[in-house]
Symmetry: C2
Subunit: 327 residues, 2 copies
């Protein structure tokens, strides 16, 4: 039974806790937090809640630590710090910064004699795998990734920073016309803005100028200006009632050609439809934590990604069980 | 540049040849055949066509041999024979016999100091991976595999063996109602016959009793009796004109629940839509052959499946290229 630690007890940490409850070969040993441990109520019985500052004292008690902080503020530092003490898994998802993060974590893990897997989850993660397998088996082609329909935390936060906004939710929605083009292999010229629509539900402060808020949203660089953006004002009660879902999803389409003259078209689609984004991501991190234990047991040290993990390592079954039941 | 051999030059062998043409790091060295080598015209310039009986003389010239024979008659023997001489890849697809085949090939490969990957392709192969990843990240759930719409070689052959049949094509078609149930996680009780329809196009000999032929088809054990089966008689000219396509496809649906009380539903779908089944399968075998070279270079010996291959090994790019471009 592998002993797992959770660092950070937000939505993702609670998702990992749920996944561990339903795992037969791993158990939650301790939850680590930067908050006051006495303020944290974990669901699993008999689990310690420990101050993150005391994590180093738990090095002999934890086989793998799952870091459940955010990429924007937590993981760049935490994965380096704890990657030297524990075998770790993180869900670092700032695509442009992954190479740098990989190198930093690799150095820490090699120095500490530990193994780390970064950027686990669904994108990066399962969608990266879909892109790798797609490119491997259809090298003459293109991959297109679509996100949604689902809530974007980063875009919701950006709207909340606008003066006069009390709260907001932003949904990313794939454009059907672009999906059709991707299946036909004719989407390589499309920008993210030509592939998705952005739907915003905004709670404005009483008396705030809604036209100005709308104008600020749709003209916001990077976030909205390049997208078809729809802004709708609702009440706080409506926001709580209709927009508390953690649902998300998306899909990767690989369209590629085969044959001597590349005359035949082949399409691979990998699609996720999730009622709970944090629970599903937590479940992916838990499966990866299992693989980390196997690979660390083989003597592997340093940093890896899901692209380096033999798929069978993600499951507790033996090779013969997998060959007979699932192959 | 890795030197690849093709054993068997039928549809699949020609598919591998096409994939090698479009590969930047592998080249076709020789085609091996049990037919008279002089009767074989390969498309690639400068490639030897060699009698299969002389394969052992090519041990120093081939980094990996891709076996392109059929599972029913060729691979059980060939993979054991050539798996002791070469690093090999095969597409053995008799699901119930995979464990036995694995053990036999493993023994031969270990004895010969070689590495083999068996059962590569799309099912088993990419669909096995979809089932493994699906079960790993949604352990509380069920996987359902659907095939088609596409031509089934085995079922077409079975019809051809009926007295009075000149030629035949059988298409396997997923039933929309069953697909809907699979997405809802309510398909675990469905048999293959409740998930698929079988559509048969038959050319009968002039004067043959069509009612008898139809009755023999729809009552055939294993192949048709448990399925909704549609039989249509056509002319030989129509068969050639309308039913020469090698298109196939299918999908794996994993539906699983997450959360403390498993209250949330999550669905993963992996779908293939192929204009050329043998070219696509050949392309998968070629990517696997690349991985075999890497793994053999690491000193791995014996038998493996695609479940054992780190995904990044299927591509020629470096880890840093993959992390920055595709992760």
């Amino acid at each position: 039974m592998k002993r797992v630690g959770i660092m950070g007890y937000g939505n993702l940490g609670r998702g990992v806790e749920c996944a561990l409850k339903h795992s037969r070969d791993m158990k939650l040993k301790a939850v680590f937090t930067r908050r006051n441990p006495d303020s944290i109520d974990v669901k699993t019985e008999g689990v310690s809640v420990v101050s993150a500052a005391d994590a180093d004292k738990w090095q002999g008690e934890i086989d793998v630590m799952i870091l459940c902080g955010g990429s924007a503020t937590d993981l760049r530092g935490q994965s380096v710090e704890y990657g030297g003490m524990f075998n770790i898994v993180d869900s670092f998802d700032s695509h442009g910064d992954i190479v740098r993060h990989f190198k930093d974590v690799d150095r820490a893990a090699v120095n500490g004699g530990k193994l780390a897997v970064i950027s686990a989850g669904w994108d990066p993660g399962l969608f990266s795998l879909a892109r790798v397998y797609g490119q491997a088996v259809l090298p003459e082609g293109q991959s297109q990734t679509f996100w949604g329909k689902g809530l974007s935390q980063g875009h919701s936060d950006a709207i909340r920073r606008i003066d006069g906004v009390v709260d907001a939710r932003q949904y990313t929605i794939p454009l059907e016309e672009a999906v059709k083009k991707a299946r036909e292999g004719k989407a390589s010229h499309l920008t993210a803005g030509e592939k998705h629509r952005r739907q915003c539900f905004v709670v404005a402060r009483e008396g705030a100028d809604r036209d100005r808020i709308r104008a600020e949203i749709i003209s916001m660089p990077n976030y909205f200006v390049d997208y078809e953006t729809i802004v709708e004002f609702i009440t706080e009660a409506e926001l709580v009632r209709d927009h508390s879902s953690m649902a998300h999803g998306g899909f990767v389409i690989r369209t590629g050609r085969s044959g001597w003259e590349l005359q035949e078209k082949n399409v691979i689609e990998y699609k996720l439809d999730l009622e709970s984004n944090p629970e599903f991501t937590g479940s992916v991190l838990t499966a990866v934590a299992r693989a980390v234990c196997v690979m660390a047991g083989e003597g592997q040290r340093g940093c890896r990604s899901m692209l380096d993990i033999p798929p069978s390592y993600l499951l507790p079954q033996t090779r013969e069980e997998l060959l007979s039941s699932i192959m």
